[in-house]
Symmetry: C2
Subunit: 338 residues, 2 copies
Amino acid sequence: MSVVTLAVDAMGGDHGTPVTVPAVASMLSRHEHLHIILVGQPAELEAALKKQGIAGHSRLEIQPASEVVAMDDPVAVALRQKKDSSMRVAINMVKDGRAQAAVSAGNTGALMAVSRFVLKTLPGVDRPAICTAIPTANGHCHMLDLGANVDSEPSHLLQFALMGQAVVSAVDGVEHPRVALLNIGEEDIKGNEQIKEAASLLREHDRLNYAGFVEGNGIFAGEADVVVCDGFVGNVSLKTMEGVATMIAGMIREEVGRSWWRKLSGLFALPLLTGLKKRMDPERYNGASLVGLNGVVVKSHGGTGVQGFISALEVAQLEARRNVPALIRDALAEPVPG
Amino acid sequence: MSVVTLAVDAMGGDHGTPVTVPAVASMLSRHEHLHIILVGQPAELEAALKKQGIAGHSRLEIQPASEVVAMDDPVAVALRQKKDSSMRVAINMVKDGRAQAAVSAGNTGALMAVSRFVLKTLPGVDRPAICTAIPTANGHCHMLDLGANVDSEPSHLLQFALMGQAVVSAVDGVEHPRVALLNIGEEDIKGNEQIKEAASLLREHDRLNYAGFVEGNGIFAGEADVVVCDGFVGNVSLKTMEGVATMIAGMIREEVGRSWWRKLSGLFALPLLTGLKKRMDPERYNGASLVGLNGVVVKSHGGTGVQGFISALEVAQLEARRNVPALIRDALAEPVPG
């Protein structure tokens, strides 16, 4: 197995090194063909590595970066002022071929802007998109765009479809993933003009396994392997999922705390709740890919813990290993006229 | 207390009279100032009333209608061909002043088209919207539009905001409901042009308590009393909620069935799960109002059971009693220049 190198923005996110360094340690022990470059302030990193017991690890190096993009930094600051940020330096390493993927828990807008500026988009890609796995009743699907673009044109939705198809083929090994368009009804007459036009583009494309429309509830019923939508709609849907799951978790806690009998019930229900948590765990599904760029960039949720950051590193490793950008480039290449 | 009369499309929905008649019976016994006109095929209705033990009830009458709008009837069929449908006749009774509200579990597109054709929109309303209560961590909020309109202009979003505010003031008794715009970030710079323009319209309106942007997860955190959005986005968000809740319920069932120990746990967890179900029950939140029309029309979920249909009848009764259409008309009236 060939070596894959990840460049990790060690300073990004709400927590920084207390999350990123333990996650990196875990990844190094799990994967023997993995190299990691930790990007950030050397003194802080050295201390964190020592604490973690991985100082001097043979597959680990430190790349200094003097600045950090804050979670609330405007895109312009990240792009024009903080040129030595841990985020930017990590992405530079992908550009320079020193790493095959960059991972950051820093702010999404900044990460997308810097990635796009440094790596550029692949030929045939007008707009990169954000793509992530979503749990469904029988496994998971991938959904894109989740917020990189608002007001997508039908041609952009077609590009998202082709990119999503390439990602799912590569990371899930599904040969002909079912690609669906998110809409407000399953009948052909439903939806707005953008969706209807996109549907005909997807239907007519001979390298797409177009499965028709899927509604918001169909995402979770496992009706599609790739769910395509505009970033505004996708982001609202993703955040709605998070909101409902969080609310239900909170209600379970409240119900358990309501009386001694419920507390006892909760104790007995623990294996059940643990099983449920495992399947719905947002940390398990952490790690969104910025697809359509000349390189793999994975965005971790800013507030995630060590397990969540590990999930994001796994996504990056897998996409780098399968060389997803090359697959997307092929998927979007104009067919040679025969 | 004054008498309120509801016209009920007894034939609509997936189930028809086996759901609508028991729900009506329950409403009549709960509310002594409520009259109900059941609209549908007299023979079937008479039989159902007899079975239910409410034949000849003094506050109940039957209004014959020879046709039924099927769940998959195109809008044009409902509108132009089935002029004696139970749905249309029920709405006609609102127009003629014989009922203060109509309730139907028939198909949404047809119900909106027929309601709009028969009742017309209120002055100042360009487009009616679909509005419903959504459970939140600390109660509920109202959200609109949930699918009547796609590609809403900023001025439509302002009308939705004013209508939503009127509904919430009337049915929840909240004097100054917090009205928020659904967006993909809380910062002012986020979102598409439509949202930014709508935000400035809402901010500048002197009869709106504008609370800024809310994200998909914020809906459930109770950050707003009224959540305003385009119907495409709102419908995706609503269906996403349903999808996540259904998936979690299915996972709980699967986890309970996984082993004898889990089955036992599930038994102990029953009070907990029952408490949870009560708070999240979709039947409890059934009943979406078609707002902006010259009359109250409430749409029930097509597949709902008796309890769900009762919830929809309660929504209709409350909106009729508070005369929501008059409140919306006032809310949308141009202020007299002083």
